[in-house]
Subunit: 401 residues, 2 copies
């Protein structure tokens, strides 16, 4: 018994039958004596359909008008879920983002939540209503509708849970939890019962797209206990929290990210300031750099390599070509056939054997490592994309996660 | 140059091409130096699609949740029209009903506008923006979304025009004006340049569904000059106003209504109080009665006949059957094969020849009249439905309207 916030994604409410299924999950939680607040995304492909409608009329529509348009998707699913719950005989009310008190900044299309005025939601809970909130949206100070960008409904749910002091925030999706690796790629992958916020953040940023990073960061900041679980099967999922019970397992998961390109600045003079010139330029162009590798200088020159997302790689190369003379480099190369494989686990920091074990597994699988990057809870290696599936399995098996 | 409110119905914004067409009408009005406020309905079949979606989930959904759902249709078309105008390079902003300041009562599904807080709309006009408002909707005092019921967007437009002191309220639809008769039924029907509010009200209630009555009543009350015109053809339509220039034409239009049934209470005792018993019962069941005819008493009994809409006729008969003994009547009959043909015109009251001329035309066409009803600006006759088309043309030709 407590306050539970539940979030259902677009596939969980895609049609009438699924909406009714979601309604039965919600009412079961309510019948168990909990106060229930639900955040819903737009049904299935609704958002894409609306984007297409807009594209037919004006492909360069303002973000302000796009937000007005796209926010309707969540309004529709919120009212439909409420109707299904009404049909089951429970007290319920649906609320738009602004009715639920979501106040955001004015960054249309990717707004940040400034605060939530919880009065209305609290009021409905006090009246013993189940509250269904349209996710992904809010209102800025000018009374204009804003949307929160990718993963916005997860963020809506976690923020509401934080403001309401909820006991649990359940993120229902089409997978039944967080796995040690993508089960479609690694047969021996298994579901985790628990994972820490930091591990989840690393896994998410590595391509295990279960929860959006912004929502996990917010959960960590406000200490909101998350659970990732499936709306299609009634079984427990994966809990995401600050501290988890110690297991002998060193690592939590293995992930692959193919959206990686390696850019190399070859033969730059081995003098101070070169790296600064390169990375300040990329920062100015808003290009995120992931792994950076600098070769040891030889014959007065060195090579600087780094990875970016593939969509940014051409822009990065073009930017660097413009200052090629300033850099004094021989050439700038770009390789889009690479992939990043990473192991994540909080236990790693206290155990230096993890890296060695990972490299051993890759070596035995005859996989060449181009770059290495380590953090306190993560080790990533850059390898050829064609080796990535083999690498993922080899590393996963080596750690028997 | 002035303030012009334009309203576009669902068929006028049904697809991308029509949205662009509407945008060009709006921007032409703006370019001519006017301040332009636009009210839009939901695209084409959007509202029906949403009702179907709700029906699949809960056919008995609350009106509160239906309003939440249905209000999205107008939000979508408002943002799409705004995007089209952005694409043409004009300053524009779309507003939901509540953003535009529409405050209504709490009668979900059929709410009345209480007031319009015009600050936001005025503010946008002051910034030289074209303002696109989602019609059909508002907010009640509890911050819940309401809808205005049938013809709601017309009412939204007229109310906004009244509050803004607009010089003209243009209702764009898929016909190019108000006709002397339905052009699909009467070949010689012609478009009226002008019509009074009262005449328009009579014609609308007689089945000439161009403008919804509530919007015409509001226009009359606040003296808002209306114009009904087509969004598909660039030509002037029909102006609706208080006083129109005198024409020799006695009548303004001829209309037919087939949604009529005649209920007869046969051989009731010719004593006081019988009519009261019948019509108070029908009023209690919320059944609207139109024409009433009471026969002259003979042999101590009389017949009372009246017309109702066909959908209400069975309920009316059933209600009367329940008090058949109290009424002391012989039988209750119902005829659903009748039709009402009416002539409307402000000039009628001063000219007693109109009724005679109408009856003459019907007599010459060999059409039997069952009932007659007259008001200051209208004469209606009840005839057999199979005669109605012939009657409509005969009457129209007789007056050469």
């Amino acid at each position: 018994m407590g306050i539970i916030v539940q979030k259902f994604g677009g596939s969980s409410v895609a049609n009438a039958q699924r909406v009714r299924n979601v309604a039965s999950i919600i009412t079961d939680t309510y019948k168990a004596g909990n106060e229930v607040v639900v955040v819903v995304s737009a049904q299935g492909d609704t958002t894409d359909d609306l984007i297409e409608k807009a594209g037919e009329i004006n492909p360069k529509a303002s973000k302000r008008e796009m937000d007005m348009l796209l926010s309707t998707g969540e309004l529709i699913s919120a009212s439909l879920v409420a109707m299904a719950i009404e049909g089951m005989g429970f007290p319920v009310v649906s609320l738009s983002g602004w009715q639920a008190g979501f106040v955001t900044d004015s960054n249309h299309g990717n707004a940040r939540i400034r605060r939530i005025d919880k009065e209305r939601v609290q009021n409905e809970l006090d009246k013993h209503n189940i509250v269904i909130v349209a996710g992904f949206q809010g209102l800025n100070r000018y009374d204009d509708i804003t949307t929160l960008g990718r993963g916005g409904s997860d963020t809506s749910a976690v923020a509401l849970a934080a403001v309401l002091g909820a006991d649990l925030c359940q993120i229902y999706t089409d997978v039944d939890g967080v796995y040690t690796a993508d089960p479609r790629l690694v047969k021996t992958a298994r579901k985790l019962d628990e994972i820490t916020y930091d591990e989840m953040l690393e896994l998410a940023s590595l391509g295990a797209q279960v929860l959006h990073n912004r929502s996990v960061e917010m959960a960590k900041k406000y200490n909101v206990k998350l659970e990732v679980l499936s709306s299609l099967e009634r079984k427990s999922g994966t809990e995401v929290k600050e501290v988890i019970k110690v297991e002998k397992m060193l690592i939590r998961g293995v992930a692959r990210d193919n959206d990686v390109a390696r850019v190399s600045v070859v033969s730059v003079p081995d003098v101070p300031g070169i790296a600064f010139k390169i990375f300040s330029l990329l920062a100015a162009r808003k290009i995120n750099v992931d792994i950076i590798l600098q070769s040891i200088g030889r014959h007065g020159t060195k090579d600087i390599s780094f990875t970016v997302s593939r969509s940014n790689s051409d822009i990065a190369v073009q930017a660097l070509e413009e200052i090629k003379d300033v850099l004094g480099c021989e050439q700038i190369t770009c390789d889009k056939t690479v992939s990043k494989v990473s192991v994540v686990g909080s236990g790693m920091v206290a155990n230096p054997g993890v890296a060695a074990k990972m490299f051993e597994a890759l070596s035995e699988a005859n996989i060449n490592i181009h770059m290495i990057s380590t953090s306190e809870i993560k080790i990533s290696v850059l390898i050829d994309e064609e080796d990535s599936l083999k690498a993922l399995n080899a590393v996963h098996d080596a750690f028997q996660v």
